[in-house]
Symmetry: C2
Subunit: 295 residues, 2 copies
């Protein structure tokens, strides 16, 4: 392994086709961090799971807070933004890329995989596999952003795992602002959750996928309301499944780092006013430092 | 008046200091449309009032839907975005600019006025004057986005009208997503409104300013809840006051058009998925055509 990897990635990135950080024999340096990005800070729920599953890894996180939210934007715009985020991380040198955003995973994953010479993992495929494995009757409900639901990515991903599954996906656009406002309990989020669960209850699902990386913070009330409305129903989120699949992928490609020297570095494209509070809400622990970059 | 105004505006815009559309004697062409912009579609509540007050005017509206919302972004970012929006409208030829966004009015109005050679009107100063004139006890409450409230612009604007006024401003970040979701009545918006009104009720205000162009769509429940909590309280929004001040400014500068040939042209930077539904919600009438531009 050589140390030129980050520069190589940077050069490739500037040429338009970002190139990961493989050396001359096409190998990636295991000492590089994992790149994780999201439209904002919701992807930190995925970072939390990765840090728990892979405590030796360094994580370089990018939240495109200047352009959040992606969920209401057109697919073409989301693809363009995602390419910018991926390039920024690859230019800094990463050994794998985790797209910790359902909207990007839904519309841009194929483009990113074609663009990049390093492993790229999204949250929808792991989430779909986790949903199928948790479901007994294969009736699967999905809550997500407008963009994720409109893309049809969850039905496609679930059906690629089990052609017998039935999927009902509904947009729940207020849940992201509720999480960002910190209203994680109380009547307002509870009534909003209840309203968004109604079509899933009518469809008689037995698993509900949290199809947005913000939603795990509302998981307690989503589980309570879902059980009150539907009885025996499982709530699955893709963060845990994504971290598990990432661990397998790193091991299989000899890219894992076993030492306990993990570390999380945070980049954003605009400093949200309540940044410290929000990172604590997502990651736990004290407020964290952040670097602001321009894409 | 000559017809070269739009081209002149375009040239000036490209030189970095956008220059409005004055002719060689510094006059603006009254036949040009009014330029109105907002971070998204909330500014259409201001367009509705302008069209009612000035039915002969053409209106060119720009909603920066690719970068909405501005309310959570840093002041430096909002200034940069606002300059881009203003330049896009000035380059197309407008005789006056209405900043139909409280966040931009709060942090970027002085910069835009310094940049541009045409009248620029924001929503905060008219809103502050309307609040002072509606208040008997000069105890004024403001609801706005995080950015507008953090800027302190409403207290400054109110105090410039009356130094005896007392102002309490609180952020109400969930109200914008509630309006965009179309939840304008029912328990969720009602409970959210009640929660946001509590600090204003404790401060014993007698006027509440709707310090965001989205909020007029929630005005019925804001008025009901405010009266239930506070008794005799007035709710004022700045859209009506802004349209009235704009009418005076156009008349005073001989820029008004008396004929009833008004028309509204809509530009956005990204096509929101629910665009037709949202314009109908804001402007009434049938869904409208829109042009997507790049800034």
């Amino acid at each position: 392994m050589d140390d030129a990897a980050p520069e190589s990635g940077e050069r490739n990135g500037r040429e338009g086709r970002a190139g990961g950080a493989p050396d001359s024999r096409g190998r990636l340096d295991p000492r590089l961090p994992l790149g994780v990005f999201d439209s904002g800070l919701g992807g930190l729920t995925v970072v939390r799971e990765i840090a728990a599953a892979l405590p030796g890894e360094r994580i370089l996180y990018l939240g495109d807070t200047a352009r959040v939210p992606y969920g209401t934007r057109s697919a073409a715009t989301v693809v363009r933004y995602a390419q910018g985020c991926a390039r920024a991380l690859v230019d800094r040198g990463v050994k794998a890329l985790v797209v910790a955003c359902n909207t990007v995973s839904a519309v841009a994953l194929d483009v990113l995989r074609a663009d990049l010479d390093l492993p790229v993992i999204g949250v929808i495929e792991p989430g779909a596999r986790a949903a199928v494995s948790a479901s007994r009757r294969l009736r699967i409900g999905v809550l997500g952003t407008t963009g994720t639901v409109a893309s049809g990515a969850y039905p496609r991903a679930v059906l690629s795992v089990s052609t017998r599954a039935e999927i009902v996906a509904h947009p729940a656009p207020l849940l992201v602002p509720l999480v960002e406002e910190g209203w994680l309990d109380g009547e307002v989020p509870r009534l909003a959750v209840r309203r968004y669960l109604e079509p899933l209850a009518r469809a008689d699902v037995d698993v509900i996928v949290l199809g947005c990386t913000h939603y795990p913070l509302l998981r307690p009330i989503i589980e309570e309301e879902a059980r009150a409305m539907m009885g025996d129903v499982q709530v699955v989120d893709s963060a845990h499944a994504t971290a598990a699949e990432l661990a397998g992928l790193l091991a299989e490609r000899s890219l894992a780092i076993p030492e306990p020297r993990g570390d999380i570095e945070l980049l954003v494209t605009d400093r949200p006013r309540s940044f410290a509070e929000v990172t604590t809400r997502f990651l736990g622990g004290p407020p964290r430092e952040v670097h602001v970059i321009d894409l």
